[in-house]
């Protein structure tokens, strides 16, 4: 009886071990499958960066009026010139849910058509639900010509004076 009992436990452990081993192998195979599937749907980054130029020449500094906003559809941004003469390149994508935000000249602000968020000329939220200011692109001014690097939008939590680029 006793002997019998030990032998059953032994087979039992061996069987349990093998079952668990198979299970482990199965899970490993599943993980590999998921990995492969994910790599298939994952974005192919190289293609995108090669297709679009990253530096856009906006134009000479003096061609932008103080307090004006100019759209650059090719670069998907707005070039805003503040009253103090500084420049900000604002992404046209609403920070709420990605709609394209038009500049409404008469109201002097950006109004999102999707969920009624509004932003002032600095891209700061004046009416929620947008959770943060419009993203910005790095601006450089060389020989009084404004250039914008549109390769990657920069997220920001709030407006800071350091974000504004001035030519002098």
């Amino acid at each position: 009886m006793n002997k019998n009992n030990t032998s059953t436990t032994q087979t039992h452990t061996r069987r349990t071990f093998l079952t668990r081993f198979w299970l482990l192998l199965g899970l490993a195979a599943l993980a590999e499958l998921v990995w492969v599937a994910v790599s298939f749907v994952k974005p192919k980054k190289q293609k995108q960066t090669a297709a679009t130029p990253s530096i856009i020449t906006a134009g000479p500094v003096d061609s932008f009026d103080l307090g004006s906003v100019t759209a650059f559809p090719r670069g998907r941004f707005y070039l805003a010139r503040l009253e103090n003469g500084g420049f900000l390149a604002l992404s046209r994508e609403c920070t709420h849910l990605g709609c394209t935000v038009p500049w409404v000249e008469e109201e002097n602000r950006f109004v999102c058509p999707c969920h009624a968020s509004t932003f002032d000329i600095k891209g700061v939220v004046t009416n929620p639900p947008a959770p943060r200011p419009l993203d910005i692109f790095p601006v450089t001014i060389e020989n009084d010509v404004v250039m914008v690097d549109v390769s990657e939008a920069v997220e920001r939590k709030r407006f800071e004076v350091g974000q504004v680029v001035r030519g002098y």
Partner: protein
């Protein structure tokens, strides 16, 4: 003539070919024989040979589950036709739809059938879920089938969502932009999920290929696996839910009739009526198609498809973290747990459980119809938590704070009901469910008809 051998088949080749293709029919002599014959037919893989008489009454189930199957078949067959003409690339997709509408025989009609069946599928699936819930069909022993049903509902919604992008018009492009942007608000995995679904940082060729593959391959396969599973569990549970009658003819011992012809005739009647209705609608009302997608210009107002407008309305009032993650996830968990509360078997199979249950249901629906529009109007014109609580991040001031307020209202309502009516757990769960459901329906109605330009509240048509 007499020289013809009786053991040789003298009919012509075609007849013999046909006979070899079909199986010689068994001719049933009596009920017993008929029973055995029908057991071997395809229909009876799904249905038992006999069903309780009370379950084939049309108003017992409204035929909603069967309608779902019919719509799936309509969608699969028209979808197959559409696949022959559609080109899943941003440059060609829109043009291929125009070509389908203009140059193919019944092209417009087939597209219309697909469109209206897809929309009807959502409505039918939701109504089916409500029918099951309000007659206690989710309770023991049918809990797991409720979960299978929830999976199917998810597939219906996801199929509609993935199909929405394919025409590549303005409506499609911006609705999908909004909805995939929502994903980014999911903590930790959000950005990753969004990139996977879009196939990149923004909506483009990769997104279209992803959506096309999900819509035409993965989701249909899931349907084909889950639907028979769902039906099989209905049969395993002994058919659809029935009230326990006092006279003994209840769920355990109901009066039964033969599935063929009594049930099958009714199923065919429902199927044919539904198909006729969808065809009529498709003749007279065209599926919408706006201008080709333009990433530079969002239409005003930009709205999600109608079945997601309840969520879009939530977005107007809560920080996206709560509107697209916390509230939907909690709702989902609650829906999964719903059949596992210990209700007992009182009122199973009876609409709204009992007389008191019915009364509480009506009161809950009315309460939600007053509370929800009131809350929406207050939040639109009066409450501005982000300004009132300037020190807090928007996740708290515009998210957690109104969410806790909402929870307080629902909890308060729960305890009010508990004190006022000494009701059972099933009745009170049902009442709270109806309160939340009606609120969501009201939000959807507001989203569809009461939101105009700039998503401001407007009077419809005014």
């Amino acid at each position: 003539m007499s020289s013809e051998r009786p053991d040789i088949d003298h009919s012509n080749f075609l007849k013999r070919l046909w006979r070899s293709f079909t199986i010689a029919p068994l001719v049933p002599e009596d009920d017993r024989e008929r029973k055995r014959t029908v057991l071997n037919t395809l229909v009876l893989h799904l249905h038992p040979p006999t069903v309780p008489m009370a379950t084939i009454r049309y108003t017992h189930t409204w035929g909603l589950g069967g309608m779902g199957l019919v719509l799936f078949l309509l969608l699969a067959s028209t979808g197959l036709l559409l696949m022959f003409t559609y080109e899943p690339a941003p440059g060609q997709a829109y043009g291929s739809i125009l070509k389908l509408k203009g140059h193919f025989l019944f092209g417009k009609f087939v597209r219309n059938i697909h469109h209206w069946s897809a929309n009807a599928f959502i409505v039918v699936a939701l109504l089916h879920m409500l029918r099951v819930f309000f007659t206690g069909g989710h309770r023991e022993p049918r809990q797991f089938n409720w979960i299978l049903g929830l999976c199917l509902l998810l597939f219906v919604l996801f199929s509609n969502f993935t199909g929405y992008l394919l025409p590549w018009d303005q409506m499609a492009y911006w609705a999908i932009t909004i909805m995939t942007s929502m994903l980014a608000y999911i903590p930790l995995a959000g950005n990753w999920l969004q990139e996977i679904l879009r196939g990149g940082g923004e909506i483009g060729p990769a997104t279209l290929v992803n959506f096309y593959t999900l819509h035409t391959t993965l989701l249909p396969i899931l349907f084909v696996i889950f639907m028979p599973w769902h039906f099989w569990r209905v049969r395993k549970a002994g058919g659809v839910v029935l009230p326990k009658a006092e006279g003994g003819a209840g769920e355990d011992n109901p009066e039964r009739v033969h599935t063929i012809p009594y049930l099958v005739v009714k199923e065919f009647a429902v199927a044919l009526t539904l198909i006729a209705a969808i065809f009529l609608l498709s003749i007279f009302v065209n599926a919408p198609l706006q201008e080709m997608a333009n990433p530079g210009m969002s239409p005003n107002p930009a709205k999600a498809p109608w079945y997601f407008l309840g969520f879009q309305e939530l977005l107007m009032h809560f920080h996206p973290l709560f509107a697209v993650f916390v509230i939907p996830v909690l709702t989902g968990i609650l829906m999964i747990l719903l059949p596992y509360f210990r209700y007992g078997s009182d009122g199973i199979g009876t609409w709204f459980i009992s007389k008191r249950g019915r009364r509480m249901a009506v009161i809950s629906a009315a309460a939600a119809m007053i509370f929800t529009p009131g809350a929406v109007i207050l939040d639109e014109y009066l409450i501005d938590l982000q300004k009132w609580l300037p020190g807090l991040p928007p996740e708290i001031s515009n998210g957690l704070v109104p969410f806790v307020m909402l929870l307080a209202v629902v909890t308060g309502y729960y305890f009010y009901l508990k004190r006022k009516y000494e009701s059972t757990k099933a009745e009170i769960t049902q009442a709270v469910f109806i309160f939340l459901l009606t609120s969501f329906i009201v939000l959807t109605i507001i989203g569809v008809w009461f939101r105009g330009e700039g998503m401001k509240l407007v009077w419809p048509g005014g």
